[in-house]
């Protein structure tokens, strides 16, 4: 319990820092955002009026306190392009992003955990070398290239899956899964590679421990030794890695969603950057970083739950 409280207390300065950076990112933009918005031909009076409307004529710290005040009430401002509330647009985009991230994670775990365990148990076998080599390749392939190659193979040469867009799940579940397939594999590949390597090395470490040797010598079945004594302990570093990997996923969705025109947070952010729709960029960066921090916190807490040593430390 004390551990939970300490961790929660440490959260406050981090969240403050995140909000400060998200705020400053937009205010560091070279050039006048108002001129960028309404064009160079605007009269000085029009510019001043707009500047007053958006509060840009006040000192920076005052703008920040006003902004963070409304953020805390769930108001992230309005999109410059569409005039719609940013919070609503982000919320709308969050669903597809979560679906993509969770599917990628599921694909990664389904492949990586068995592959890592088998690799470790059959260390230095052909199977191990093969799996380790594939994992290393998976880590080295840039995800957008993998995405493009998948489109070339499975949308153009063999037209099985659509190359872009998303069909909402409740409209057409099968159509939804068809649009999900390629982006999820693209995002899941590097994740699977990293998880497989971590599972393998954690298993190797655990399997060389004395208590595992004791378990073997007691004549327990291989399944019981490997899964019960080995795998459960080896899971710990893998859980930590998954938390860190969520950062990769939240960054990776930006690329994957752009390649496949998947209507999530990542695509929204990139489109907003090119449209100079700064309230959206600000809101998306703030939201994504906050989610990332909360996931990391959750990972640490799960870790503490699994390992009593951390709690007392």
């Amino acid at each position: 319990m004390r551990y939970v409280l300490t961790r929660l207390a440490a959260l406050a300065p981090i969240l403050f820092g995140i909000s400060l950076i998200s705020f400053l990112l937009v205010h560091l933009v070279p050039g006048d955002p108002i001129v960028a918005m309404i064009g160079l031909e605007a009269t000085d009076e029009a510019i001043d009026a707009l500047r007053a409307k958006y509060g840009l004529d006040r000192p920076l710290w005052e703008q920040y306190t006003t902004w963070i005040g409304s953020v805390l009430q769930g108001d992230l401002g309005r999109s410059i392009q569409t005039g719609r509330p940013v919070a609503g647009m982000l919320l709308e985009a969050l669903g597809p992003t979560i679906q993509l991230a969770v599917s990628a994670m599921a694909i990664a775990l389904l492949i990586a955990i068995p592959a890592g365990v088998i690799s470790a148990v059959r260390k230095n076998s052909v199977l191990d070398f093969g799996a380790s080599f594939v994992a290393l390749c998976g880590l080295s392939i840039p995800s957008f290239w993998l995405g493009v190659m998948l489109i070339l193979t499975f949308s153009i040469t063999l037209p099985i899956f659509p190359s872009s867009g998303r069909v909402p799940f409740f409209e057409d579940p099968f159509g939804n899964l068809a649009t999900l397939a390629l982006p999820a594999v693209t995002l899941g590949a590097s994740l699977a590679a990293a998880t497989m390597r971590m599972t393998r090395s954690a298993m190797l470490e655990v399997l060389s421990q004395d208590y595992v040797r004791t378990a073997w010598s007691k004549g327990l079945s291989p399944w019981r030794v490997i899964m019960h004594h080995g795998f459960r302990t080896a899971l710990m570093p893998v859980v930590t890695l998954l938390g860190i990997q969520m950062g990769q996923v939240l960054g990776g969705v930006v690329i994957t969603e752009t390649v496949f025109s998947w209507p999530g947070i990542g695509k929204l952010t990139v489109d907003a950057i090119f449209a100079r729709d700064y309230p959206i960029v600000q809101g998306a960066v703030l939201l994504t970083a906050t989610i990332f921090v909360l996931i990391n916190l959750a990972t640490d807490l799960v870790y503490a739950l699994l390992d009593p040593r951390v709690r007392s430390a």
Binding site: P13, C137, L204, I255, A289
Partner: protein, 300 residues
């Protein structure tokens, strides 16, 4: 982003001071993965350096009569939508990638290590303030932070490099802080202090060389990451600006011609893959050498 555990301090004491880089040579040729990776890197670096001499095509000169022609004996990798030779552009892209990797990781390592050494050496409030700032940077998903910074500074190769450097700062700061905390208690550092050397002299002459090996391993791992991140930014249009070629920008361009000219997409991606694979192989070899647990387990 691969991170070296901050507790690893390979060889401490006087030995580390005298034979500074012998370990690096030993590792590159002892571990087969590292050797293969090193050879791949030499190939990529050689391509970047000598490619323009061996393959004298202008990577930015359009040749509309030969636009979108498939790989042939004249254009090994084919040509793009403006008839530019793709091999020449891949070679020019290698120069960009290696340059970006070197500058951004080098810059990040220099600034990040300075922050980490200051924090670890002085501890107290210096440590608290510097490391809390690093924690905040670390709280952003790396690609997103790079994206946000480039968007704020404006799209250009220089700004992409600045963004990538900032993203890796906390990695170097945390690692070097941990190492410094250990190093400052070593006998020869205390001896330097007893002899009345200034703080700066101790940090530069005693601590920096001692903590260098794990930082170099970290740098080699992040080099691969930096190349990928640059290609992401260029792919999104936030990095290098046309007509200058970069692997990521070439892929962005290729998207519009996937059915007509798939070779436009094959080669730049393959180039990123090969370069990153080489770096990862070297990084793996170095890391295993450094993690004492792996060394015990593998019996090497």
């Amino acid at each position: 982003m691969s991170v070296v555990p901050s507790t690893v301090l390979p060889s401490t004491g006087v030995a580390a001071r005298t034979r500074r880089f012998a370990w690096l040579r030993a590792t590159l040729f002892a571990d087969p993965r590292a050797t293969i990776g090193f050879l791949i890197l030499m190939l990529v670096a050689g391509t970047a350096l000598f490619g323009p001499v061996l393959h004298p095509y202008d990577p930015t000169k359009p040749d509309f009569l030969n636009a979108l022609s498939p790989p042939s004996t004249e254009h090994w990798f084919g040509t793009d939508d403006l008839g530019r030779d793709i091999l020449a552009r891949v070679i020019a892209g290698a120069q960009v990638s290696l340059f970006v990797g070197l500058i951004s990781v080098g810059g990040s390592a220099t600034v990040g290590t300075t922050i980490g050494v200051l924090a670890g050496f002085y501890r107290g409030w210096v440590d608290a303030v510097l490391m809390r700032c690093m924690d905040v940077l670390f709280a952003f998903p790396p690609v997103l932070l790079a994206l946000g910074i480039t968007a704020a500074l404006g799209p250009s190769l220089t700004n992409a490099m600045i963004a990538i450097s900032i993203v890796y700062l906390p990695v170097f700061a945390r690692l070097s802080r941990g190492q410094t905390l250990v190093a400052r208690e070593l006998a020869f550092v205390e001896a330097d202090r007893a002899m009345g050397f200034s703080d700066v002299a101790i940090m530069v002459r005693a601590i920096a060389p001692t903590i260098a090996p794990p930082l170099l391993v970290q740098a080699s791992l992040l080099f691969a990451d930096a190349i990928i991140t640059e290609s992401y930014l260029s792919f999104l249009g936030l990095g290098i600006q046309p007509p200058q070629p970069s692997w990521g920008a070439m892929l962005k361009n290729a998207i519009g011609f996937l059915t007509l000219a798939p070779w436009m997409a094959w080669f730049p991606g393959l180039a990123i893959f090969v370069a990153v694979l080489g770096l990862n192989l070297v990084g793996d070899g170095l890391r295993d050498r450094f993690d004492p647990r792996t060394r015990l387990r593998e019996g090497g």
